[in-house]
């Protein structure tokens, strides 16, 4: 409750209100000189595109290409978007890469803090996810979001874990998740196999071929993607993130595509 009538917005002067109290209270309106200088809402600048992940027999496998775009410019072509957090978790990121970098440092500090406790407890994927979704939802609630779509995959105590969180703090878990364009292009391909077999009947080789095939399809259709990607897996033996894999591409068929584009017939 504001107890100062002058702040209520009603004109307070004798011409309008003869019964006005005198002297009028007046208080300087607080003005933050730096308000305009503070950048709150933003837009993504250097961005990564889709991340794909599936649960399979031995754990979770995740894939992301190594491109960080600056608008339509393919600015950085060797950026790792899969990041190991502790010993049981992989974090995959799409969206703003500087926000991702910040998140990595926050999670790194967290892992160090927990390690320093030396209490015999280590953070598993579900704990990391809880922290991460808390950060993301907290930042959106301050109107200052971290502009990312994130996948958290992990394996601990015989159980695999795969979940999504984005800039709004929206979360969900599933056997197959894809962010960005992957949700439109790759996810239907992944779900087709996942729905037919279930994660427990997908071998490591099959999981790898599912993701590789999906990454190829994405490269053909997503203009902000690259035919160079990494595959990370997390199983009982721990985290493994591959070196960048370049896959050959075939464009001869493009000549024969008709119906849209520049050609007139």
């Amino acid at each position: 409750m504001d107890h100062f009538p002058t702040n209520w917005g009603r004109p307070r002067n004798d011409a309008v209100d003869a019964y006005n109290t005198y002297p009028l209270h007046s208080r300087p309106v607080h003005h933050d000189s730096f308000a305009d200088g503070v950048q709150r809402t933003q837009q993504p600048i250097v961005t990564g595109t889709s991340v794909l992940a599936i649960r399979y027999k031995d754990g979770v496998m995740m894939a992301a290409d190594t491109l960080a775009s600056y608008g339509s410019l393919a600015r950085f072509k060797d950026v790792t978007r899969l990041h190991a957090v502790g010993d049981y978790t992989i974090l995959g990121a799409g969206g703003d890469m500087s926000d991702f970098q910040y998140l990595k440092s926050v999670l790194n500090d967290l892992i160090i803090d927990e390690f320093t406790q030396a209490d015999g407890h280590a953070l598993g994927p579900s704990e990391i996810f809880e922290v991460l979704s808390g950060i993301m939802y907290g930042r959106r609630s301050k109107f200052n979001p971290l502009w990312n779509s994130l996948l958290v995959g992990g394996f601990k105590d015989g159980k695999s874990f795969l979940a999504y969180v984005d800039l709004l703090g929206t979360t969900y878990k599933d056997n197959a998740i894809a962010t960005g364009y992957g949700a439109y292009i790759a996810l239907p391909l992944l779900r087709e196999i996942m729905d037919a077999k279930g994660p427990e009947n997908i071998s490591e080789e099959e999981a790898r071929s599912m993701l590789t095939e999906s990454m190829k399809v994405l490269f053909y259709r997503d203009a902000r993607s690259l035919n160079k990607f990494q595959i990370g897996k997390i199983t009982a033996t721990g985290v493994e993130i591959s070196d960048a894999i370049s896959v050959p591409t075939e464009w001869a068929f493009a000549e024969k595509i008709r119906g849209y584009g520049a050609q007139t017939q």
Binding site: T41, Y137, T170, T171, Y172, K173
Partner: protein, 261 residues
């Protein structure tokens, strides 16, 4: 150009910085529904979570057990919904530690109104329906709007397909626009099995005509203490969550597939 410059109010600003406003909300689809009986309460929701035309997941619960006799269904912006349920559960735990008993349903309802209104100027973008058993042993449903306005009712539908489901409930639960045969009256409360069938029909209907509803139905059933199963034993897909044989309220969950298209 020179014409424009001549006017002081039409000065040309070549690159005025433009502010795009970040939108902290989204809609995640789905529908929830609750019906109160004389000595039971049924709280249900579909499990699809979507954004736009994309199905994010086919199983994201919107209905949550709060205590042995209270169940909360939350629909709207999923991130807000999950956070709200988390905070309600936290408050209920504090209450348990302070008073060594569960908070009564009507008190949970008032607490939810307070918690929602506390965010009046940055609301939780969610519709809440609270169902359960009152201290006097009656089945109860409380429904809320996003800023806490609430009411105890016999039935309520909310969410994406609320407009499709609510009139059906008016007709089948409240017998609106129906006149009883001469010398008879409409029942004030329906039997449990009948209510369960109505909920299933509501969701199959909503699934048929609304793209954001489907995948599967998750229905919680709370029975007042000391009541018989009332035909629940004949239903498949039902699982008891409370410890069988305990003489408190009994809680059941029924899961049923809905169309996935």
């Amino acid at each position: 150009m020179s014409d424009l410059m001549a006017h002081p109010y039409h000065q040309y600003h070549p690159q005025q910085p433009q502010q795009r406003q970040f939108n902290p909300y989204t809609e995640n689809g789905g529908t929830i529904l609750a019906i109160a009986g004389a000595d039971f309460s049924v709280i249900a929701g579909d499990t699809r979570q979507s954004e736009g035309y994309s199905i994010q997941t086919r199983y994201a619960p919107k209905v949550f057990k709060l205590t042995d006799k209270a169940v909360l269904a939350v629909n709207g912006f999923a991130a807000d919904g999950n956070m709200f349920v988390k905070k309600v559960k936290q408050r209920l735990e504090w209450y348990r530690h302070a008073h060594s008993k569960d908070m009564p349903l009507r008190a949970i309802a008032r607490m939810i109104q307070t918690m929602l209104y506390a965010q009046r100027f940055f609301p939780y973008y969610v519709y809440n329906i609270l169902g359960g058993i009152e201290e006097d042993g009656t089945g109860a449903v409380y429904s809320f709007d996003p800023v806490g306005s609430y009411e105890r009712e016999a039935c309520r539908a909310a969410g994406a397909a609320s407009a499709l489901v609510q009139p059906f409930l008016d007709n089948q639960i409240y017998f609106k626009n129906q006149t009883p045969a001469l010398g008879s009256a409409h029942p004030t409360h329906l039997p449990l099995r009948h209510v369960v069938e109505l909920v299933i029909d509501s969701f199959t209907g909503a699934t048929e005509r609304h793209i954001e509803v489907g995948d599967s139905l998750e229905m919680y059933i709370v029975l007042a203490r000391g009541r018989s199963l009332q035909g629940l034993e004949g239903l498949k897909d039902v699982r008891e969550l409370s410890t069988p044989g305990s003489n408190g309220e009994r809680l059941f969950v029924l899961r049923k597939p809905l169309k996935r298209d």
